[in-house]
Each structure stands twice: as C-alpha cells, then as structure tokens.
C-alpha cells in the first residue's frame, strides 16, 4: 500500500566513524536528520568505544559488573546467542587480541610472541562473561568487550524500528555497509543492492533484490596488511589467538535483522567455505554468498536459499 505514489526522502550523515544513508518513502518528510542523529547519539553513549564515558567504556574499565541499558542489553543477549550458534567463533571479547595484531590503535612491525598471545587468551572468551538479568558480569577483571562486530547492524535495526514507529512502510537504511530494507521502492519493484566484487571494486557482479531483509558484506580484501611476507586479516580466531587463515575473500549475509547479518558475517569469514555453507543451511533465515580463492582463482558458493535474492549474475 504505502509504496505507491509516494515521494522519496534521503537523509545522509556521519556516525560511528562512517557514513549513513536513509532512503524512505512517505507522503511528507516526517523524519528529520536531527531525530536520526539523536537516535544514533544514544547508541553511541551506550556502546561507542571511542567515547570513554560510554557504558561500554565504563564496563571495560570496571572490575566486576555494570547494569546495562536497553541497547547494550539487547546486543549482549544476542551476542551470547550468536556465540552459542557459531560454537564460539563469534566472540565479543577478542578486542585485546585484535589490538595485539595491529588492528587497534597501534600498528605492529613483527609477529606477536606466542607467550603474549597465550597470556591474553586467559581473559578472552565469552565464558569469561555472565549475564544476570540486565547485569553484565566479568569473571576476570581484564575482560574487555567490543561490540563493533554487531553494534552497527543493531543501530540499523534501531533506526528501522524508528521509521516503523512513524508508519513508514518502505525504506532502505544503510550504516557503514550494513543495510536493512523494508517494503518496495515502487509497485512490485524491490530494493536492489549490489555486492561488491573483490576482483574489481569498480563494478559488482551480483545484484540482490530484497524485501523486509537485512544484508551485509564483509571482506578480507579490505582490512588486511602484509607482515613478514604473510597476509594478516582482521578476523582473529578467539580459540587460538591467531588471524584466521582461510581462503575466504568475502561473505554476503542476508538475515531478518541487520544485527544478525552483521554478527554472522564475522562468523562466516572465519570458517572455510564448506563450514560456512553448512552452518547457513542449518540456520533458519540466514543465507550466505561466499567468494573464496581456489588456486589463485575466485570462486563462489551459495547457501541453499540464497538464489531467491539474486536479480541477475553478470559474467566477465
């Protein structure tokens, strides 16, 4: 109903160290940028690691426990769930390891020492956290949580809920590459999202058509550097403390919520393509498209239901 004959409004801005774009269809400009920025500010005060007064920063500095606000409680609860479903691959306590490998504020010039990695592993793992109602408890006071692997997707869901509450039935919300779409652009015209190919960042090979879904793409080709002759990617295995070494170049996840799409993309990046496809096929409502390298050639793998979302596939 709502998508027919309605003007399009676009709100663009900066948040969480990246840009956002909201495209919605309504009779009038019933959502303003001020309101969106206000929603995002509240989330920052909860979960931004760049704000040393935020709730998450307070928790990271604390010895024992804090009372969570609703936003952080929602994200922490889902994090435990994803950690369980991914058998520990998704883990919000890996920040010290990520920093150790040069993806934090400090760059590195040589590989970290095994004993350093081992000592940090002592307080990495979500078994070092407990959630009692809305109280988050550290079982080791050195535990640090980083919700950047899921909070951006969550922020997209919060903005989407905001638009829903305003009665907007067709929109596309994008923040830092995390996307949620609802409704249609026009009668029977779904939103289209292009997936960037690692082979050539100038064009995309696959176009998705989505309605009432979230999508995200995660890629090793973006965040990586070379060290002592090896390619170091930013996905760190929380079990052994080392960067994930697999042949996955990028994953695209379609999920019901942006928080799930955001959370699962890290998981699929850390698995082999076979493991990733198997996991997606076991999960309800999660579909994945994996681009991986095989003998220097890029290949693709799709979970069973992903084909539903593809508009067309161009070949070179």
């Amino acid at each position: 109903m709502a998508y027919a004959q309605q003007p399009k409004f676009v709100i663009q801005g900066q948040a969480q160290g990246t840009s956002y774009r909201i495209q919605y269809y309504a009779q009038d400009s019933i959502v303003s940028k001020i309101e969106i920025d206000s929603v995002l500010n509240v989330i920052d005060r909860s979960m931004s690691l760049y704000d040393d007064q935020s709730l998450i920063s307070t928790f990271n500095k604390a010895d024992k426990s804090i009372e969570l606000d609703d936003h952080m409680a929602n994200v922490i609860k889902r994090s435990f769930d994803l950690n369980h479903r991914s058998k520990g691959v998704f883990d919000i306590t890996v920040m010290p390891l990520v920093g150790l490998w040069g993806f934090g504020p400090n760059r590195i010039n040589s590989f970290p020492q095994p004993q350093t990695i081992d000592s940090i592993l002592q307080f990495v793992g979500m078994d070092k956290l407990a959630l009692d109602g809305n109280t988050l408890i550290k079982k080791d006071k050195r535990v640090q949580v980083d919700l950047n692997g899921i909070a951006q997707g969550y922020s997209v869901d919060v903005i989407s809920q905001f638009l829903d509450n305003r009665g907007i039935a067709s929109y596309l919300v994008e923040l830092g590459g995390e996307i949620k779409v609802k409704g249609y652009k026009d009668i029977n015209v779904p939103f289209e999202i292009a997936i960037e190919s690692p082979q050539n960042a100038q064009y995309s090979d696959v176009i998705l058509q989505l309605t009432d879904k979230a999508v995200t793409t995660s890629g090793n080709y973006r965040r990586a550097f070379d060290l002592e002759g090896r390619r170091i990617h930013h996905h760190i295995n929380p079990h052994d403390g080392y960067p994930v070494q697999n042949n996955v170049a990028s994953v695209t996840v379609v999920a019901p919520t942006a928080m799930d799409a955001d959370g699962y993309d890290n998981v699929f990046m850390a698995m082999t393509p076979e493991e990733g496809i198997n996991l997606a096929n076991r999960l309800d409502d999660i579909e994945v498209y994996i681009i991986y390298k095989d003998n220097d050639r890029f290949k693709e793998a799709f979970s069973a239901g992903f084909y539903k979302y593809i508009k067309k596939q161009l070949t070179d």
Binding site: M1, A2, Y3, A4, Q5, Q6, P7, K8, F9, V10, I11, Q12, Q23, Q27, D28, S29, I30, V31, S32, I34, E35, G167, D186, I187
Partner: protein, 437 residues
C-alpha cells in the same frame, strides 16, 4: 478574498484547526435515522486513497466503507483487497458498489455520508462540487485544483458547503500537527514579533514513473502516469510543495499579492516525464512588503530539505514535519522548543477530528479557504516560472486558462499530446505565455 491581519486571525482562529472557527452547530440528516454508523466512500483508489481510508478507520469512530470509485478497475481491486484484509467487516463494498470509470465518483458519493476525495488533483474541483451538491461531508486531499478555473469552482462549492454546514477537511496535515499548531499559535501571539521574511522548501528525490504501454490510448497513458501532466497534477510545486507554501501563508495570516520566480526542466527530461518541471524557486511578496522564498526540486542524489524558516522583528522560527519547532528571540535565545517525541500522527489527527465532529453532528471544519488559496499560491508560482512574468494575485484569480480535457473518455484526447517523437511540449519562459495565464 480576505486577508487576515494577525489580531483578526487570533480572534477568529481556533487552536484546533488554525482556520476560522465555526460555530459548533448541530447538523441534521447526517446518518440514516437510528444508525450511528458513518458510511464513507473512497474516490480515488491509489496509495493516498488507501492511506486516507486507513487513517479514517484509525479515528476510532464507527465507520464503514460502503463504496469505492476509480477510473481503473485494477487500482480499485488492489486497494479493496488491501483495505478488506486489514479491516474485515468494516468494509462493505459489494461488486455493485465498486464503480469504475470517469463518472464513477457520482454513484459512490451518493452511497455515503462522508467522502474521501483522493484522486489526482485535476479531478478535485468537479468531485468536490458533486459531493457538496449531494450534501456529503468531505475529506479531500491536497491540492484542491490544478488551474485557476478549478480554484474558482472549489471556492463556489465551498460557499454551498458552508450554507449546508458540511464539514470539509483538506489534507494539508501540518494544520493538524501539534508542533505546527503550537509554534504558529505562539508566532501569531507575537512571540517573535512581525514576520518579515521566510524560506520554505521541498527538495527531495522524485516520484514514480509509469512507462507507456503499447496498448494504452493517450488518455489512459496520461491517467496512469498522471504526475507528469499538469491537467492531472499541477506540477510538483502545486502537488507537493503546497504543504510548505501553506505554512508560509498560515504564518503570515494572509496570501501574497504578487509572485515571481524561476524554474526549469533541468534533469528530468525525456518522454516519460510529460511536461512538468523538476525545480522551482519563487518569491511570495505580501502586502506588507514581507517576502517568503519558496524552493522545490526533484533532483536525485543531492541534499534533501523539507522545512520552513521565518525571520521576524523580534526573533526567528524553524519548523519541520519531523515534529520540529523552535522559536528564538532576537538575541538567539531559545524561547520555545517543541518536544518531537510522543506527538500524534497528523494524518490520523485530521481524520480523528473530522469524524469526531461528524459523529457528534457538529459543524466544525471548513478548510476550503486555506486549501484553495494555498493551492492557488502554488498555481500562480508555477505560472510565474513557466512564463517568466511577475504575476499579481488579483489579476491571476480571473484567469480562464483551463487545463481539463473537453471530454473525459478513454478514446478522447487530453489537451496536451506528444509529437511524432513521443515528446511533450513544455513551458519555456517568455514564450507562448497566453497558454498559461
């Protein structure tokens, strides 16, 4: 035509409607005797018509949809399915009360107590006239006309509606939106002094396009792709920007005495886009010398802006449909900031108030003055940009340029037709001005 001075506006103004308050008098014969069900008919089964029906049901009154009318069977059926799915028993529209065609509105109007007029605005004047003749209360979408003869028709019907005490609400929903009501009440009470200038905007992306299909006649193609033809739409300065222009007039408490401006068809050119422009910038000059600048555009991929700002002798104001309203004094101190949270939905509010009055048999709403005169402001603005002339209000009101076709029939031709390449003629300032005014 009346110009309200601020004090007169305050005396006559109602906190509820922002328009002249009407004596709440009982009206007779609203419903069938012995029934408290309000029967509504929907004329125009597109997206807005569907939305208006949903909003009417959300009013909380005992309403039943009993008739629907549209030029197209498929639009009517699609909308019927959507509404029926949501509202079940409250929808009592058998096939015999689904009316299709150009004349369908007449039969549907007869069946109801209240009519929702939501077709493309080119039809509004004749539909409104018919509804008033039949003695029905009206919710009509904005704008209320696309040309000046249409405005005169609406004003004439409005006089009849007043005599018959028929409630008429026009879908300029900002008039029912709390932030606007609260802020403009304060402005009219002198909170920031006299308003001497303003800027109102509707800069957004464009709207849908319905490409031509080979089996369509010219009339059917234009009726499907109606936004791009002035006899149906009025151009976007009228169809959409009327919202913001109406705010300028509401704040000023009067209508401009002359309008001039510039506009063009800059990027949205080509066969699919009929004759309309994609940008307008006009100045509304009022009798006290104050000037409001009004800008609207449909450009893709550029910044959007839809809001209203005003400067006054003792302060400033900022308003937007996102529930924002801020007033500052002359020194820049905030003297009012509306809480954007928890406000009622303005689209639902306009129906809530209308249907509440009807349910109580009260005559409380006449939006036709501001509905017609703000629409006229937009039409004159369009003409000023199309011709490049400075247009005086008092001369424009007598224009006889009528955009409607001679015959409403699928095999008849509209007044504008394409050339052999499928392109439509469009206004070029300074040329053929007699076509426009």
């Amino acid at each position: 035509m009346q110009h309200f001075k601020r004090r007169d506006f305050i005396k006559a103004g109602s906190a509820l409607t922002g328009a002249a308050a009407l004596s709440s008098m009982p009206i007779s014969n609203v419903f069938a005797a012995g029934s408290d069900v309000i029967k509504i008919a929907l004329i125009g089964c597109g997206g807005r018509g569907t939305g208006a029906t949903f909003d009417a049901f959300a009013s909380g009154q005992n309403i039943k949809l009993v008739a629907m009318a549209d030029a197209f069977q498929d639009n009517l059926e699609k909308t019927y399915q959507t509404i029926k799915e949501k509202f079940g028993d409250k929808v009592d529209v058998p096939d015999s009360r689904k009316y299709v065609g150009f004349d369908a509105y007449k039969a549907a109007i007869k069946d109801a107590d209240v009519v929702l007029l939501a077709t493309p605005p080119g039809f509004r004047p004749i539909h409104f006239e018919e509804a008033v003749k039949a003695g029905k209360h009206v919710f009509m979408e904005k704008p209320v006309a696309v040309d000046i003869p249409g405005i005169r028709k609406v004003l004439a019907a409005a006089e009849e509606a007043k005599k018959k005490k028929l409630n008429v609400v026009v879908g300029l929903q900002r008039r029912y939106q709390t932030n606007y009501r609260e802020a403009i009440k304060r402005i009219q009470d002198g909170a920031i002094g006299d308003v001497v200038s303003g800027q109102v905007y509707w800069n957004s992306g464009g709207v849908w396009v319905r490409p031509r299909k080979p089996e369509q006649t010219e009339m059917e193609y234009q009726m499907r792709n109606w936004f791009y033809f002035n006899w149906l739409c009025g151009d976007h300065i009228v169809e959409q920007h009327v919202h913001n222009i109406d705010i300028a007039n509401w704040v000023k408490g009067k209508y401009p005495v002359s309008i001039q401006g510039t506009g063009s068809r800059a990027h949205r050119t080509g066969k699919d886009y009929g004759e309309i422009y994609d940008n307008f910038a006009i100045e509304l000059t009022y009798d006290d010398g104050s000037v409001v600048y009004s800008q609207c555009r449909h450009f893709e991929g550029v910044s959007n802006r839809v809001d209203e700002s005003f400067q006054a002798t003792n302060g400033r104001a900022y308003l937007s449909a996102g529930n924002q309203a801020v007033l500052w004094d002359a020194k820049g101190n905030e003297i009012y900031r509306h809480d954007p949270k928890g406000n009622p939905n303005a689209y639902q509010q306009e129906h809530k108030e209308l249907f509440a009055a009807i349910a109580k048999n009260e005559y409380a709403f006449d939006d036709t003055q501001h509905g017609a005169y703000s629409t006229l402001t937009g039409i004159i603005g369009r003409i000023a940009c199309y011709t490049g002339k400075v247009i005086k209000w008092d001369e424009a009101i007598n224009s006889t340029v009528d955009l409607s076709p001679n015959v409403y029939a699928w095999d008849a031709l509209p007044s504008i037709v394409p050339n052999e390449n499928g392109e439509y003629p469009y206004a070029i300032p300074g040329k053929n001005t007699e076509l426009y005014i």
